[in-house]
């Protein structure tokens, strides 16, 4: 009787563990599916942004034809924190100006330069 109970208990625990394992596996599959969907959405998003960029470019060309004297003149622009900078594309197609700090990043050139170029890159 006692051994039967032990056997039953053992079977129940085994089934519970298998159940947990299956549950974990199905969760992992679910996560993979979500990751895939996220990647697909990112890709779609990138494609849309690329199309928008093409349209922006067309718009810039058309606007600069209408207003050639101002097309390539840098203009004063103001960042959200009030900093005034020179933006080259501001008047013909106002674009967002990003205030990215130098932080701990390495740089070459003068610390208080008139023009700051920030380049994100990878080594491959």
């Amino acid at each position: 009787m006692k051994s039967q109970m032990k056997m039953t208990l053992f079977t129940l625990v085994t089934l519970l563990l298998i159940g947990c394992n299956n549950n974990e596996q199905s969760l992992l599959v679910l996560i993979k599916e979500k990751d895939l969907k996220i990647e697909q959405l990112k890709e779609k998003n990138a494609q849309i942004l690329e199309k928008i960029a093409e349209k922006d470019s067309e718009l810039i060309k058309l606007t600069s034809k209408q207003n050639p004297s101002k097309s390539k003149e840098p203009q004063q622009a103001t960042l959200k924190d009030g900093t005034k900078i020179l933006a080259y594309n501001w008047e013909i197609a106002p674009k967002e100006i990003f205030n990215i700090p130098v932080g701990d990043s390495y740089f070459i050139g003068a610390k208080d330069a008139k023009v700051t170029v920030i380049e994100w890159m990878d080594y491959q």
Partner: protein, 137 residues
């Protein structure tokens, strides 16, 4: 970029930020090597050396070690610095800075005075930078 700074040493600053793409498996490690070399005052040298041989990096992710040796860096110190979480944190920080802009996550990505460089409209970055310097007076 070196040419740009050489041309206008007092007026231009070029800031290098990492954005190692996940699809480029060796890129993050190479970025760590460059930052670690920076702690020995050789960031830019390492950056340029890796860039000059980036194709070889694909088959040899520890190519920067060889380059570091050629530069006379302390290899043991370099490897210790490589494992400092602060360097990886810096890469995350720089990566997040680009993400925060909402711009397309393709590299190289260049901002000039905070504005994304429009290569189609201004194919020559030197001309554009010169114009901005002149205008700033």
């Amino acid at each position: 970029m070196d040419k740009l700074v050489a041309q206008y040493p007092n007026d231009v600053k070029v800031v290098f930020k990492n954005f190692p793409l996940r699809s480029h498996k060796q890129a993050n490690k190479a970025a760590l090597y460059a930052l670690a070399a920076g702690r020995q005052g050789k960031y830019h040298e390492m950056h340029n050396a890796i860039m000059a041989q980036f194709r070889d990096l694909k088959n040899n992710e520890d190519l920067p070690l060889q380059l570091a040796d050629e530069m006379g860096l302390d290899i043991q110190l370099l490897q210790e610095d490589m494992s400092d979480p602060a360097l990886q944190q810096q890469i995350y920080q720089e990566t997040n800075e680009l993400r925060s802009t909402g711009l397309r996550l393709a590299v190289p990505k260049i901002l000039i005075n905070g504005e994304e460089w429009d290569r189609k409209q201004f194919p020559n970055i030197e001309v554009l930078v010169k114009q901005l310097i002149d205008k700033a007076g």
